[in-house]
């Protein structure tokens, strides 16, 4: 057997005689005596060592066999996937006037009608085939909670459908948090609300600059108050979007949350991401400081620094592991307020990327999203492939005006992965 192509070898900062091995294919990590590397090369491993290293993804029979394994990876995910996941944009309106939201000039008083909502439910019901075990619906916007009444009626019907079919059901929100009050959560919990993802863009002054109310005034205090009130009722994910100019301010937000009693045990996940750009056609006029690729050096520095600040305070954040895009999965659907369907919210209103309509169902396959863009020799020989699988098509489109080729993240992983993996080992593994 030989060492996997998707194995990275990093120095152990505590011991010159050992190294850390990380498999991007399995997200497994081991600390080994350097002599193990020689044993692998010379066929000198014991049986137990050989079996363990193979199970963890560090040893393979041949490069070709492993290449075939990767080529089948997403097909196999689709084969074992028993979830139907639907994101529904209830409107493209908002009570905030954010300086950067990617809907940008697409925003407006566009709301889903009760008739379209009925078609959404029919579409979901028709796609809950016998092999589905879980239905997950995410309400999205604009600000979805500006459509609370319609959401309540949809949620009630969806829960009933799931119960009739005997499958698990979960609702979630992507919300700005201003309207996520305990009374709203209480009502929606009856119909399966499990979690909400809420945005806080830094400490109060920084957040209020980028996310003021349309009528004027900051939204920070209201959002934090709501998080505090509902974080014991449902899982709350806190996200935040930073720019090159303000990312150093974000640790003060974490300290504020702790002081307010929004402690790691009461929050499901905390993750900060850079503000991404948009094409000039849709970008908000005020947008500045956005990045067009994670390969920008300031993003390396900001991402690592903020992840460390999150983890060292004990907040949970996602570990480094293989990630696939929802575009690649057959049972993930994105529905806009007018019933048009896409594979990614970033492509709303881009007619060439419509996959169907809730009335007629999926009529176009997803080939316009350039599926399998990573199935080429360069990507297959890249150690980071399982963490990326071609990257983000939306970012590629915004940056280059097309999605031919890949959104390569190799420079980002070359610069950051060792530190990210070691953060996981320090904070995640020691807690497990």
């Amino acid at each position: 057997m030989k060492i996997s192509q998707y194995c990275l070898i990093y120095p152990d900062s505590n011991n010159a005689d050992s190294v850390v091995l990380f498999s991007t294919k399995k997200a497994s990590a081991i600390l080994v005596d350097k002599s193990i590397l020689t044993d692998i090369k010379n066929g000198g491993l014991g049986e137990e060592e050989r079996v363990t290293l193979a199970d963890l993804g560090f040893l393979v029979e041949t490069d070709e066999e492993e290449k075939q394994e990767l080529l089948r990876y997403i097909d196999e995910l689709n084969e074992i996937d028993t979830k139907l996941s639907v994101i529904v944009a209830m409107n493209l309106d908002c009570n905030l006037a954010c300086t950067y939201r990617f809907e940008g000039r697409r925003k407006g008083k566009h709301y889903m009608s009760p008739e379209t909502a009925g078609h959404v439910i029919d579409f979901i019901q028709n796609n809950l085939t016998k092999d589905r075990e879980l239905l997950n619906v995410t309400f999205y916007g604009g600000e979805p909670l500006l459509s609370t009444e319609l959401i309540l009626s949809m949620a009630k019907r969806l829960k009933g459908i799931a119960e009739t079919k005997g499958i698990d059901f979960g609702l979630q929100f992507v919300s700005n948090g201003t309207l996520l009050t305990p009374s709203v959560v209480e009502k929606l919990k009856l119909f399966g609300l499990k979690e909400a993802s809420i945005t806080l863009d830094g400490p109060e002054a920084v957040h209020n600059l980028s996310r003021p109310y349309k009528m004027g005034g900051g939204s920070f205090k209201k959002i934090v108050g709501n998080i505090k009130a509902v974080c014991g009722m449902i899982d709350i994910n806190i996200g935040g979007n930073f720019t090159e100019a303000n990312y150093r301010e974000f640790p003060r937000l974490l300290d504020y949350l702790l002081a307010e009693g929004i402690t790691p045990d009461r929050v499901a996940n905390v993750k900060f991401d850079p503000v991404f750009g948009e094409t000039s056609e849709y970008a908000p006029r005020e947008m500045t400081g956005a990045c067009l690729t994670p390969n920008e050096p300031w993003v390396f520095e900001a991402g690592i620094m903020l992840r460390e600040e999150v983890m060292k305070r004990g907040f949970k954040t996602g570990g480094i592991q293989p990630v696939v895009c929802a575009i690649d999965l057959n049972n993930r659907h994105i529905i806009n307020y007018d019933g048009s369907m896409y594979k990614c919210t970033g492509f709303f209103d881009r007619k060439d990327f419509i996959t169907g309509n809730v009335k007629s169902g999926v009529t176009n396959n997803s080939s316009m999203y350039n599926l399998d863009n990573w199935k080429n020799e360069e990507c297959l020989s890249c150690k980071f492939l399982p963490l990326c699988f071609g990257g983000c098509r939306y970012m590629k489109y915004v940056r280059d005006g097309n999605i031919s080729g890949v959104d390569c993240k190799k420079p980002y992983y070359e610069a950051c992965l060792e530190v990210l993996v070691k953060q996981d080992l320090r904070y995640l593994a020691s807690n497990s």
Binding site: T52, T199, F276, P322, R332, S430
Partner: protein, 49 residues
């Protein structure tokens, strides 16, 4: 060496390798785990769907 593999809890309890050659720090994820963390771009961040 009869048993050359230890797991993370033992590693931290004993403060190191002792006489072992491999310490498993993270067992890794399954394809089911990967499906639970599917990424979807929602403007400025990613959510699990």
């Amino acid at each position: 060496m009869k048993c050359s593999i230890i797991f993370i809890s033992e590693y931290f309890l004993t403060g190191g390798y002792m006489n072992k050659k491999i310490a498993v720090l993270k067992k890794g994820v399954t394809k089911k785990d990967v499906l639970m963390r599917t990424c979807c771009h929602t403007g400025t961040a990613n959510i699990r769907v």
